[in-house]
Symmetry: C2
Subunit: 349 residues, 2 copies
């Protein structure tokens, strides 16, 4: 089969690789219907995190189950399934606690350390899923083609935006600022609206993303950044800042923006993978009683809650995909995201 | 009148100082019935934070109202009152949000920058309270002498321990670890128990403090620290750690202990004033979805909730005072706390 391999900085290739094979009894082979490129894939693409040796890449996919092991009980061949951006058993203590990204037996797509050995990256034609019953959620019926992008967001970005809002503890009637206008930040707007926020500020300086933000529920747009951005947010909210801030980038600059935009006693929900020298300024947090909560989003736990609203069209997170390409053009997909020609690119094998 | 002045490292004196005078209309003069020494007073005492010039010190007191300004409406002359460890108007947006330590018009005891000028330190005979109606809470009746220590804890340590538990979000049936066996840590045990925690671990290696911890509701004691302490906590709780950890010290060592003792998805409530190089390790927090919340405890907001339980004896935080001295022996009070001969020292002018 064909699958995406990253060789180094700006070197993405679609290679011929071995077909995955069932190996543990509880696993499944999923034929990928749609995958996509994540903002975090751009760190190795840009060379910010070095690629020591070529490896498979991609962690978001939906597809049709082709084969299952004899121990699989809930997932059936032919099911249309959503996979989270990681494998998990959904039964260990961390999964039961809702933190399936810390599954004691799970792992990451494209890794050799999974149960039963290698589990494929998502930007390919097929993926072996080590814990089929734990990781996969089947849709009640086969979705239409138009529903696929929305379902794919449940693999990562919609669940991750939701995690930011849940981690912050967004409450009905509250004020929310979203830092980051990528796919996750935009989905965080949907999440804040679902949880009842009365005002939602999108910090964005790109007209196309501002339009999606408005569509998703943003009531205000702030284009300023840094000191000016913080000042603007304070002006908007009683001179002290917003109740909740959702940090969806992961840089020091964005984290500072988030922390300073929260009012005393406010909470920052953060899901941007910390990179570079991002740090939490403990004295500033302590003095103003601003809390931080979040991390690698346990999206598996949110699929059942969000799936009906995606299927009904009550929420439309699939709008973050503003470019669709065949898998053969995966290198162009990375380039389009890197150059901000696209918010998020959907790939069809 | 007489009041405590710190001159430098291990140099505490009881000096003759001017009597406070009403100056703003909304202020009051309180005759101090009891004050005390805080763990945070030991930082300048030990020279960890330098004393540039002699200044008044102490921030916890209860007393009797001697005089009120013409604009005071809720507090009366003769009232027995509890003051929080700071002055606040209790009406600004931050106070209304429950974060009175960020009061837009408040300040700190012993500071020149208060409304109407200087407000006295608490370790003295009298204190001018700039916002009498905002800061002071009168007891419904005059307390007995035995009730005074418990009431004094509402000025800081009981409210601060409560803030740790509230900031962490302790829930009924949850597991809690308390890092720090000083007065605040011990009060945090009371707070966790009040909020319904089913297991409460006190990390302590001092027999006297362990005894108070048990009395306050600790179900387990862990004497180990560092890696061994973390391992012990993980062993106790499903191999992954506790739901909530209350950090009541403020050093890097204690913060690390707290963060590593929390399970994935757990929450650290922290109230120990960060000192030295204390930092929050963002990658460790992010990877395990451990949140941190807390800060300078807004104890004013908690007085009404906790006061009836102190008066009824339902909770007995006054037990943290294991030494009482006359104000004339304030230097010995500092020495006793510094040398860990006392958990907390109560001073009577």
């Amino acid at each position: 089969m064909r699958a995406t391999v990253i060789y180094g900085e700006r070197d993405i290739r679609l290679d011929e690789v071995p077909n995955p094979v069932l190996s543990t009894g509880g696993d499944a082979i999923v034929r990928v219907v749609a995958a996509c490129v994540c903002g975090s894939d751009l760190w190795p693409y840009r060379g910010v995190t070095p690629t020591k040796e070529p490896h498979r890449i991609g962690h978001e996919f939906v597809g049709i189950v082709d084969e299952i092991g004899p121990d699989v009980t809930t997932i059936k061949v032919g099911d249309f399934v959503i996979a989270p951006f990681y494998d998990c058993d959904n039964t260990c203590v961390n999964c039961v606690n809702g933190v399936s990204t810390s599954c004691l037996n799970g792992g990451w797509w494209g890794s050799n350390d999974q149960l039963g050995g290698f589990a494929d990256g998502a930007q390919g034609e097929r993926v072996r899923v080590p814990h089929a019953d734990g990781s996969l959620v089947a849709t009640p019926v086969q979705p239409t083609d138009d529903q696929v992008p929305g379902l794919l967001t449940l693999a990562d970005v919609m669940g991750t935006g939701h995690h930011a809002a849940v981690s912050a503890g967004v409450t009905p009637g509250s004020t929310v600022v979203v830092v980051g206008d990528g796919a996750v930040g935009l989905c965080a707007i949907i999440a804040a609206k679902r949880l009842g926020a009365s005002r939602i500020v999108a910090m964005s300086r790109h007209a196309d993303r501002q339009a999606v933000a408005r569509e998703f529920g943003a009531t205000d747009i702030v284009e300023e950044r840094g000191d000016a951005g913080v000042e603007r947010i304070h002006e908007m909210f009683d001179g002290v800042g917003a109740d909740f801030v959702l940090e969806c980038v992961g840089t020091q600059e964005s984290m500072d923006q988030a922390i300073r935009s929260a009012r005393p006693g406010g909470m920052v929900g953060y899901v941007g993978v910390p990179n570079g020298g991002a740090e939490l300024p403990i004295k500033a947090l302590f003095g103003r009683n601003v809390g931080v909560n979040g991390g690698v989003a346990s999206v598996r736990a949110y699929v059942e809650e969000l799936l009906p609203e995606v299927l009904s069209g009550a929420i439309n997170p699939g709008r973050v995909f503003d470019l669709q390409l065949p898998l053969t053009e995966v290198a162009e997909a990375y380039a389009a995201m890197d150059q901000r020609r696209a918010i998020k690119v959907l790939l069809r094998p």
